[in-house]
Protein backbone atom coordinates (compact mmCIF):
# COMPACT_ATOMS: atom_id res chain seq x y z
CA UNK A 1 0.00 0.00 0.00
CA UNK A 2 1.47 3.28 -1.10
CA UNK A 3 0.74 6.19 1.21
CA UNK A 4 0.56 9.81 0.18
CA UNK A 5 3.97 10.45 1.69
CA UNK A 6 5.61 7.92 -0.63
CA UNK A 7 4.05 8.93 -3.94
CA UNK A 8 3.04 12.48 -3.24
CA UNK A 9 5.47 14.13 -5.58
CA UNK A 10 4.31 11.96 -8.50
CA UNK A 11 0.98 13.70 -8.31
CA UNK A 12 2.56 16.96 -9.37
CA UNK A 13 4.54 15.63 -12.33
CA UNK A 14 2.44 15.87 -15.47
CA UNK A 15 2.55 12.86 -17.76
CA UNK A 16 2.98 13.29 -21.49
CA UNK A 17 -0.26 11.53 -22.43
CA UNK A 18 -2.10 13.49 -19.76
CA UNK A 19 -0.84 16.75 -21.29
CA UNK A 20 -1.84 15.58 -24.76
CA UNK A 21 -5.37 14.65 -23.72
CA UNK A 22 -5.84 17.75 -21.58
CA UNK A 23 -4.81 19.98 -24.47
CA UNK A 24 -7.06 18.15 -26.92
CA UNK A 25 -9.97 18.46 -24.53
CA UNK A 26 -9.27 22.11 -23.84
CA UNK A 27 -9.14 22.93 -27.54
CA UNK A 28 -12.37 21.06 -28.24
CA UNK A 29 -14.21 22.60 -25.32
CA UNK A 30 -12.91 26.10 -26.06
CA UNK A 31 -13.84 25.80 -29.74
CA UNK A 32 -17.30 24.66 -28.72
CA UNK A 33 -17.79 27.62 -26.41
CA UNK A 34 -16.21 30.22 -28.74
CA UNK A 35 -17.73 29.10 -31.99
CA UNK A 36 -21.10 27.68 -31.03
CA UNK A 37 -22.34 27.96 -27.49
CA UNK A 38 -21.71 31.62 -26.68
CA UNK A 39 -22.60 33.05 -30.12
CA UNK A 40 -25.81 31.05 -30.10
CA UNK A 41 -26.87 32.32 -26.69
CA UNK A 42 -25.68 35.85 -27.41
CA UNK A 43 -27.84 35.85 -30.53
CA UNK A 44 -30.79 34.71 -28.45
CA UNK A 45 -30.13 37.34 -25.79
CA UNK A 46 -29.86 40.06 -28.43
CA UNK A 47 -32.97 38.90 -30.23
CA UNK A 48 -34.88 38.80 -26.98
CA UNK A 49 -33.76 42.29 -25.97
CA UNK A 50 -34.66 43.56 -29.43
CA UNK A 51 -38.09 41.96 -29.27
CA UNK A 52 -38.78 43.40 -25.86
CA UNK A 53 -37.63 46.85 -26.90
CA UNK A 54 -39.62 46.58 -30.13
CA UNK A 55 -42.74 45.59 -28.25
CA UNK A 56 -42.32 48.39 -25.78
CA UNK A 57 -41.90 50.99 -28.50
CA UNK A 58 -44.78 49.47 -30.43
CA UNK A 59 -47.01 49.68 -27.38
CA UNK A 60 -45.92 53.28 -26.83
CA UNK A 61 -46.73 54.09 -30.45
CA UNK A 62 -50.16 52.51 -30.13
CA UNK A 63 -50.84 54.45 -26.94
CA UNK A 64 -49.79 57.69 -28.59
CA UNK A 65 -52.05 56.98 -31.53
CA UNK A 66 -54.95 56.18 -29.24
CA UNK A 67 -54.35 59.36 -27.25
CA UNK A 68 -54.22 61.40 -30.42
CA UNK A 69 -57.45 59.84 -31.75
CA UNK A 70 -59.13 60.38 -28.38
CA UNK A 71 -58.11 64.03 -28.33
CA UNK A 72 -59.33 64.44 -31.88
CA UNK A 73 -62.74 62.95 -31.08
CA UNK A 74 -63.05 64.99 -27.94
CA UNK A 75 -62.24 68.13 -29.88
CA UNK A 76 -64.79 67.20 -32.51
CA UNK A 77 -67.37 66.49 -29.84
CA UNK A 78 -66.76 69.81 -28.15
CA UNK A 79 -66.92 71.60 -31.49
CA UNK A 80 -70.20 69.83 -32.28
CA UNK A 81 -71.60 70.85 -28.91
CA UNK A 82 -70.63 74.45 -29.47
CA UNK A 83 -72.06 74.34 -32.97
CA UNK A 84 -75.32 72.80 -31.76
CA UNK A 85 -75.81 75.36 -29.04
CA UNK A 86 -74.99 78.14 -31.48
CA UNK A 87 -77.51 76.77 -33.95
CA UNK A 88 -80.15 76.51 -31.24
CA UNK A 89 -79.48 80.05 -30.13
CA UNK A 90 -79.65 81.33 -33.68
CA UNK A 91 -82.89 79.48 -34.29
CA UNK A 92 -84.37 80.86 -31.08
CA UNK A 93 -83.38 84.41 -31.99
CA UNK A 94 -84.69 83.91 -35.49
CA UNK A 95 -88.01 82.57 -34.21
CA UNK A 96 -88.42 85.47 -31.78
CA UNK A 97 -87.64 87.85 -34.55
CA UNK A 98 -90.11 86.18 -36.91
CA UNK A 99 -92.83 86.16 -34.27
CA UNK A 100 -92.34 89.79 -33.34
CA UNK A 101 -92.27 90.75 -37.00
CA UNK A 102 -95.46 88.82 -37.60
CA UNK A 103 -97.04 90.53 -34.61
CA UNK A 104 -96.05 93.95 -35.88
CA UNK A 105 -97.24 93.19 -39.36
CA UNK A 106 -100.53 91.74 -38.20
CA UNK A 107 -101.14 94.71 -35.91
CA UNK A 108 -100.47 97.22 -38.67
CA UNK A 109 -102.57 95.25 -41.16
CA UNK A 110 -105.42 95.02 -38.71
CA UNK A 111 -105.23 98.74 -38.06
CA UNK A 112 -105.13 99.35 -41.79
CA UNK A 113 -108.12 97.15 -42.44
CA UNK A 114 -110.05 98.75 -39.60
CA UNK A 115 -109.17 102.20 -40.91
CA UNK A 116 -110.17 101.27 -44.43
CA UNK A 117 -113.44 99.86 -43.26
CA UNK A 118 -114.16 102.92 -41.18
CA UNK A 119 -113.33 105.14 -44.12
CA UNK A 120 -115.47 103.18 -46.52
CA UNK A 121 -118.34 103.07 -44.07
CA UNK A 122 -118.08 106.79 -43.59
CA UNK A 123 -117.99 107.45 -47.31
CA UNK A 124 -120.88 105.10 -47.99
CA UNK A 125 -122.84 106.75 -45.24
CA UNK A 126 -122.02 110.11 -46.75
CA UNK A 127 -123.05 108.88 -50.20
CA UNK A 128 -126.21 107.43 -48.86
CA UNK A 129 -126.99 110.63 -47.03
CA UNK A 130 -126.36 112.73 -50.14
CA UNK A 131 -128.39 110.48 -52.40
CA UNK A 132 -131.15 110.17 -49.81
CA UNK A 133 -131.25 113.91 -49.37
CA UNK A 134 -131.63 114.38 -53.13
CA UNK A 135 -134.25 111.68 -53.60
CA UNK A 136 -136.23 112.59 -50.50
CA UNK A 137 -136.26 116.25 -51.53
CA UNK A 138 -137.54 115.48 -55.01
CA UNK A 139 -140.04 112.97 -53.69
CA UNK A 140 -141.34 115.23 -51.00
CA UNK A 141 -141.71 118.21 -53.35
CA UNK A 142 -143.59 116.10 -55.82
CA UNK A 143 -145.70 114.68 -53.08
CA UNK A 144 -146.39 117.99 -51.46
CA UNK A 145 -147.22 119.51 -54.85
CA UNK A 146 -149.69 116.82 -55.55
CA UNK A 147 -151.20 117.10 -52.04
CA UNK A 148 -151.40 120.88 -51.94
CA UNK A 149 -152.23 121.06 -55.60
CA UNK A 150 -150.29 124.10 -55.91
CA UNK A 151 -147.05 124.86 -57.24
CA UNK A 152 -144.61 125.85 -54.74
CA UNK A 153 -143.06 128.64 -56.70
CA UNK A 154 -141.33 130.42 -53.90
CA UNK A 155 -137.91 129.00 -53.34
CA UNK A 156 -137.79 130.04 -49.74
CA UNK A 157 -141.05 128.28 -48.92
CA UNK A 158 -139.98 125.30 -50.90
CA UNK A 159 -136.70 125.11 -48.98
CA UNK A 160 -138.44 125.63 -45.67
CA UNK A 161 -140.86 122.86 -46.32
CA UNK A 162 -138.16 120.58 -47.39
CA UNK A 163 -136.14 121.08 -44.25
CA UNK A 164 -139.22 120.61 -42.12
CA UNK A 165 -139.97 117.36 -43.85
CA UNK A 166 -136.53 116.01 -43.51
CA UNK A 167 -136.50 116.80 -39.83
CA UNK A 168 -139.78 114.95 -39.54
CA UNK A 169 -138.38 112.07 -41.49
CA UNK A 170 -135.33 112.00 -39.26
CA UNK A 171 -137.50 111.89 -36.18
CA UNK A 172 -139.61 109.04 -37.58
CA UNK A 173 -136.57 107.00 -38.51
CA UNK A 174 -135.09 107.63 -35.04
CA UNK A 175 -138.34 106.47 -33.50
CA UNK A 176 -138.22 103.20 -35.45
Amino acid sequence: MMTLADGGIDLFIPKVYDIVWSLIILVIVALFFYKFFMPKFNAIFDERAEKIEGNISKAKQAKDDADKAKKKYEDQLNQARVDASKITDDARTEATKIISEAHTRADSEAAQIAANAQRSIASQQQQAMVSLKGQVGTLATALAGKILGAKLQDGDVQQGMLDQMIDGLDKTSEKK
Binding site: W21, L26, V29, A30, F33, F37, I44
Partner: protein
Protein backbone atom coordinates in the same frame (compact mmCIF):
# COMPACT_ATOMS: atom_id res chain seq x y z
CA UNK B 1 -3.87 14.36 5.33
CA UNK B 2 -1.03 12.48 6.92
CA UNK B 3 -2.81 12.31 10.23
CA UNK B 4 -5.97 10.86 8.75
CA UNK B 5 -4.06 8.23 6.94
CA UNK B 6 -1.96 7.48 10.02
CA UNK B 7 -4.95 7.01 12.30
CA UNK B 8 -6.72 4.92 9.77
CA UNK B 9 -3.71 2.66 9.59
CA UNK B 10 -3.99 2.00 13.30
CA UNK B 11 -7.70 1.31 13.10
CA UNK B 12 -7.36 -0.82 10.05
CA UNK B 13 -4.84 -3.23 11.42
CA UNK B 14 -5.14 -6.50 9.55
CA UNK B 15 -7.72 -6.66 6.81
CA UNK B 16 -8.80 -3.07 7.21
CA UNK B 17 -11.03 -0.91 5.06
CA UNK B 18 -10.02 -0.11 1.51
CA UNK B 19 -8.80 3.38 2.19
CA UNK B 20 -8.09 5.73 -0.72
CA UNK B 21 -4.44 6.11 -1.58
CA UNK B 22 -2.36 8.30 -3.78
CA UNK B 23 -2.57 5.55 -6.39
CA UNK B 24 -6.17 6.56 -7.01
CA UNK B 25 -4.74 9.59 -8.74
CA UNK B 26 -2.06 7.65 -10.59
CA UNK B 27 -4.14 4.93 -12.19
CA UNK B 28 -2.54 2.51 -14.64
CA UNK B 29 -2.81 3.08 -18.36
CA UNK B 30 -5.59 0.97 -19.78
CA UNK B 31 -5.55 1.91 -23.48
CA UNK B 32 -2.77 2.76 -25.95
CA UNK B 33 -0.21 2.04 -23.25
CA UNK B 34 3.14 3.69 -23.74
CA UNK B 35 1.99 6.07 -26.48
CA UNK B 36 1.37 9.82 -26.09
CA UNK B 37 -2.33 8.94 -26.38
CA UNK B 38 -2.40 6.52 -23.48
CA UNK B 39 -5.63 6.56 -21.50
CA UNK B 40 -6.00 5.84 -17.84
CA UNK B 41 -9.09 5.87 -15.66
CA UNK B 42 -9.03 9.60 -14.95
CA UNK B 43 -8.50 10.49 -18.60
CA UNK B 44 -11.38 8.19 -19.53
CA UNK B 45 -13.55 10.03 -17.00
CA UNK B 46 -12.36 13.29 -18.49
CA UNK B 47 -13.30 12.19 -22.01
CA UNK B 48 -16.71 11.08 -20.81
CA UNK B 49 -17.15 14.36 -18.96
CA UNK B 50 -16.22 16.26 -22.12
CA UNK B 51 -18.74 14.33 -24.18
CA UNK B 52 -21.43 14.90 -21.55
CA UNK B 53 -20.59 18.61 -21.40
CA UNK B 54 -20.68 19.01 -25.17
CA UNK B 55 -23.87 17.00 -25.54
CA UNK B 56 -25.80 18.66 -22.74
CA UNK B 57 -24.79 22.23 -23.55
CA UNK B 58 -24.76 21.59 -27.30
CA UNK B 59 -28.31 20.23 -27.34
CA UNK B 60 -29.44 23.04 -25.06
CA UNK B 61 -27.90 25.62 -27.37
CA UNK B 62 -29.20 23.96 -30.52
CA UNK B 63 -32.72 23.88 -29.15
CA UNK B 64 -32.50 27.28 -27.48
CA UNK B 65 -35.65 29.30 -27.97
CA UNK B 66 -36.51 32.94 -27.53
CA UNK B 67 -38.79 32.05 -24.65
CA UNK B 68 -36.71 29.76 -22.44
CA UNK B 69 -37.98 26.66 -20.72
CA UNK B 70 -36.83 25.70 -17.25
CA UNK B 71 -33.63 23.97 -18.31
CA UNK B 72 -32.65 26.67 -20.76
CA UNK B 73 -33.42 29.22 -18.07
CA UNK B 74 -30.99 27.47 -15.75
CA UNK B 75 -28.23 27.44 -18.38
CA UNK B 76 -28.92 31.07 -19.22
CA UNK B 77 -28.69 31.87 -15.54
CA UNK B 78 -25.23 30.27 -15.54
CA UNK B 79 -24.14 32.31 -18.58
CA UNK B 80 -25.55 35.46 -16.99
CA UNK B 81 -23.69 34.65 -13.80
CA UNK B 82 -20.35 34.27 -15.59
CA UNK B 83 -20.88 37.32 -17.75
CA UNK B 84 -22.24 39.79 -15.22
CA UNK B 85 -21.11 38.60 -11.81
CA UNK B 86 -17.68 37.35 -12.80
CA UNK B 87 -16.43 39.17 -15.90
CA UNK B 88 -18.28 42.48 -16.14
CA UNK B 89 -18.17 43.14 -12.42
CA UNK B 90 -14.39 42.67 -12.37
CA UNK B 91 -13.26 44.36 -15.57
CA UNK B 92 -16.29 46.21 -16.89
CA UNK B 93 -18.30 45.49 -19.99
CA UNK B 94 -15.97 47.20 -22.48
CA UNK B 95 -12.88 45.16 -21.63
CA UNK B 96 -14.76 42.10 -20.50
CA UNK B 97 -16.73 41.42 -23.66
CA UNK B 98 -13.90 39.59 -25.43
CA UNK B 99 -13.16 37.38 -22.40
CA UNK B 100 -16.69 36.18 -21.73
CA UNK B 101 -16.35 33.06 -23.91
CA UNK B 102 -13.02 32.16 -22.29
CA UNK B 103 -14.27 32.57 -18.74
CA UNK B 104 -17.48 30.73 -19.62
CA UNK B 105 -15.38 27.87 -21.00
CA UNK B 106 -13.33 27.73 -17.82
CA UNK B 107 -16.30 27.98 -15.49
CA UNK B 108 -18.59 25.45 -17.15
CA UNK B 109 -15.83 22.95 -17.94
CA UNK B 110 -14.27 23.03 -14.49
CA UNK B 111 -17.67 22.85 -12.83
CA UNK B 112 -18.77 19.78 -14.81
CA UNK B 113 -15.34 18.14 -14.49
CA UNK B 114 -15.37 18.69 -10.74
CA UNK B 115 -18.87 17.28 -10.41
CA UNK B 116 -17.64 13.90 -11.69
CA UNK B 117 -16.02 13.53 -8.27
CA UNK B 118 -19.44 12.71 -6.81
CA UNK B 119 -21.06 11.01 -9.79
CA UNK B 120 -21.43 7.33 -8.99
CA UNK B 121 -19.29 5.12 -11.21
CA UNK B 122 -16.79 7.88 -11.82
CA UNK B 123 -16.20 8.96 -8.22
CA UNK B 124 -13.24 10.94 -9.41
CA UNK B 125 -13.16 14.51 -10.59
CA UNK B 126 -12.00 14.89 -14.18
CA UNK B 127 -9.79 17.69 -12.89
CA UNK B 128 -8.06 15.35 -10.45
CA UNK B 129 -4.69 15.15 -12.17
CA UNK B 130 -2.38 18.10 -12.01
CA UNK B 131 -2.32 18.43 -15.79
CA UNK B 132 -5.87 19.51 -16.46
CA UNK B 133 -5.84 22.44 -13.99
CA UNK B 134 -2.32 23.25 -15.21
CA UNK B 135 -3.46 23.46 -18.82
CA UNK B 136 -6.30 25.75 -17.81
CA UNK B 137 -3.89 27.88 -15.78
CA UNK B 138 -1.42 28.14 -18.65
CA UNK B 139 -4.22 29.30 -20.89
CA UNK B 140 -4.94 32.06 -18.37
CA UNK B 141 -1.20 32.87 -18.20
CA UNK B 142 -0.98 33.20 -21.97
CA UNK B 143 -4.09 35.35 -22.08
CA UNK B 144 -2.93 37.83 -19.47
CA UNK B 145 0.49 38.16 -21.10
CA UNK B 146 -1.13 38.75 -24.48
CA UNK B 147 -3.44 41.33 -22.92
CA UNK B 148 -0.46 43.04 -21.26
CA UNK B 149 1.60 43.20 -24.46
CA UNK B 150 -1.36 44.53 -26.41
CA UNK B 151 -2.57 47.09 -23.90
CA UNK B 152 0.63 48.28 -22.26
CA UNK B 153 3.47 46.86 -24.31
CA UNK B 154 5.87 44.26 -22.97
CA UNK B 155 8.40 46.62 -21.39
CA UNK B 156 5.85 48.89 -19.78
CA UNK B 157 4.14 45.85 -18.26
CA UNK B 158 7.42 44.59 -16.83
CA UNK B 159 8.25 48.07 -15.57
CA UNK B 160 4.84 48.59 -13.98
CA UNK B 161 4.81 45.20 -12.31
CA UNK B 162 8.47 44.72 -11.32
CA UNK B 163 9.70 48.28 -10.94
CA UNK B 164 6.57 49.83 -9.57
CA UNK B 165 7.00 53.61 -9.60
CA UNK B 166 7.16 55.36 -6.26
CA UNK B 167 9.22 52.68 -4.53
CA UNK B 168 12.78 53.54 -3.29
CA UNK B 169 15.26 51.87 -5.66
CA UNK B 170 16.99 49.44 -3.23
CA UNK B 171 13.63 47.76 -2.72
CA UNK B 172 13.67 46.78 -6.39
CA UNK B 173 16.44 44.27 -5.68
CA UNK B 174 13.92 42.33 -3.64
CA UNK B 175 10.71 43.37 -5.33
CA UNK B 176 11.55 42.83 -8.98
CA UNK B 177 12.37 39.10 -8.82
CA UNK B 178 9.42 38.39 -6.56
CA UNK B 179 7.06 40.18 -8.92
CA UNK B 180 8.52 38.41 -11.93
CA UNK B 181 8.12 35.03 -10.25
CA UNK B 182 4.59 36.02 -9.34
CA UNK B 183 3.77 36.84 -12.95
CA UNK B 184 5.36 33.74 -14.43
CA UNK B 185 4.97 31.00 -11.85
CA UNK B 186 2.98 31.84 -8.75
CA UNK B 187 -0.22 32.86 -10.50
CA UNK B 188 -0.59 29.74 -12.66
CA UNK B 189 0.75 27.52 -9.90
CA UNK B 190 -1.72 28.86 -7.38
CA UNK B 191 -4.59 28.36 -9.83
CA UNK B 192 -3.44 24.81 -10.56
CA UNK B 193 -2.72 23.69 -7.02
CA UNK B 194 -5.84 25.24 -5.51
CA UNK B 195 -8.10 23.33 -7.88
CA UNK B 196 -6.11 20.11 -7.96
CA UNK B 197 -5.62 19.92 -4.18
CA UNK B 198 -9.31 20.60 -3.59
CA UNK B 199 -10.22 17.68 -5.82
CA UNK B 200 -7.66 15.40 -4.18
CA UNK B 201 -8.69 16.21 -0.63
CA UNK B 202 -12.36 15.99 -1.54
CA UNK B 203 -11.90 12.54 -3.01
CA UNK B 204 -9.78 11.36 -0.09
CA UNK B 205 -12.21 12.53 2.57
CA UNK B 206 -15.27 11.24 0.75
CA UNK B 207 -13.71 7.89 -0.11
CA UNK B 208 -12.42 7.51 3.46
CA UNK B 209 -15.89 8.09 4.89
CA UNK B 210 -17.46 5.57 2.52
CA UNK B 211 -14.66 3.03 3.00
CA UNK B 212 -15.17 3.12 6.76
CA UNK B 213 -18.94 2.93 6.34
CA UNK B 214 -18.49 -0.16 4.18
CA UNK B 215 -15.95 -1.66 6.63
CA UNK B 216 -18.03 -1.15 9.77
CA UNK B 217 -21.42 -2.03 8.36
CA UNK B 218 -20.51 -4.96 6.11
CA UNK B 219 -17.16 -6.37 7.04
CA UNK B 220 -16.88 -5.81 10.81
CA UNK B 221 -17.63 -8.92 12.85
CA UNK B 222 -19.44 -7.11 15.64
CA UNK B 223 -22.66 -5.84 14.06
CA UNK B 224 -23.90 -4.19 17.31
CA UNK B 225 -21.06 -1.74 17.18
CA UNK B 226 -20.53 -1.91 13.43
CA UNK B 227 -23.94 -0.71 12.23
CA UNK B 228 -24.14 2.53 14.32
CA UNK B 229 -20.49 3.42 13.75
CA UNK B 230 -20.80 2.63 10.06
CA UNK B 231 -24.00 4.68 9.95
CA UNK B 232 -22.15 7.69 11.30
CA UNK B 233 -19.41 7.23 8.70
CA UNK B 234 -22.06 6.93 5.99
CA UNK B 235 -23.73 10.11 7.22
CA UNK B 236 -20.32 11.75 7.02
CA UNK B 237 -19.97 10.51 3.45
CA UNK B 238 -23.42 11.81 2.60
CA UNK B 239 -22.65 15.26 3.99
CA UNK B 240 -19.27 15.27 2.23
CA UNK B 241 -20.98 14.44 -1.08
CA UNK B 242 -23.17 17.51 -0.76
CA UNK B 243 -20.17 19.51 0.33
CA UNK B 244 -18.22 18.32 -2.72
CA UNK B 245 -21.04 19.47 -4.98
CA UNK B 246 -20.67 22.89 -3.40
CA UNK B 247 -16.86 22.74 -3.73
CA UNK B 248 -17.23 21.80 -7.40
CA UNK B 249 -19.10 25.03 -7.99
CA UNK B 250 -16.96 27.10 -5.65
CA UNK B 251 -13.66 26.06 -7.26
CA UNK B 252 -15.02 26.68 -10.74
CA UNK B 253 -16.11 30.12 -9.57
CA UNK B 254 -12.79 30.89 -7.86
CA UNK B 255 -10.82 29.77 -10.91
CA UNK B 256 -13.00 31.88 -13.22
CA UNK B 257 -12.87 35.00 -11.10
CA UNK B 258 -9.09 34.78 -10.48
CA UNK B 259 -8.50 34.31 -14.21
CA UNK B 260 -10.55 37.46 -14.80
CA UNK B 261 -8.69 39.39 -12.13
CA UNK B 262 -5.28 38.36 -13.51
CA UNK B 263 -6.25 39.42 -17.02
CA UNK B 264 -7.66 42.68 -15.71
CA UNK B 265 -4.36 43.41 -13.92
CA UNK B 266 -2.67 43.43 -17.33
CA UNK B 267 -4.68 46.48 -18.38
CA UNK B 268 -3.44 49.95 -17.55
CA UNK B 269 -5.05 51.66 -14.57
CA UNK B 270 -7.77 54.06 -15.52
Amino acid sequence: MMETVGTSMLLAAGAGPELPTVNDFLPPEILFQGTPFAINRIILIRLVATVVLLLVLGITAARAKLIPGRWQGLIEYGIDFVRNNVVYETMGELRGRRYVPMIATLFFTIFIFNLFGIIPGANMAATATVTMPLVFAIWVLVQYWIAACREKGFFRYIRDECFTPGVPWPIYILLAPIQLIELLIIRPASLTIRLFANMISGHLVLATCLAFAQYWMVEAANKFVGIPVGGIWFLGGFVMTLFEAFIAFLQAYVFAILATVYINLSYPDE
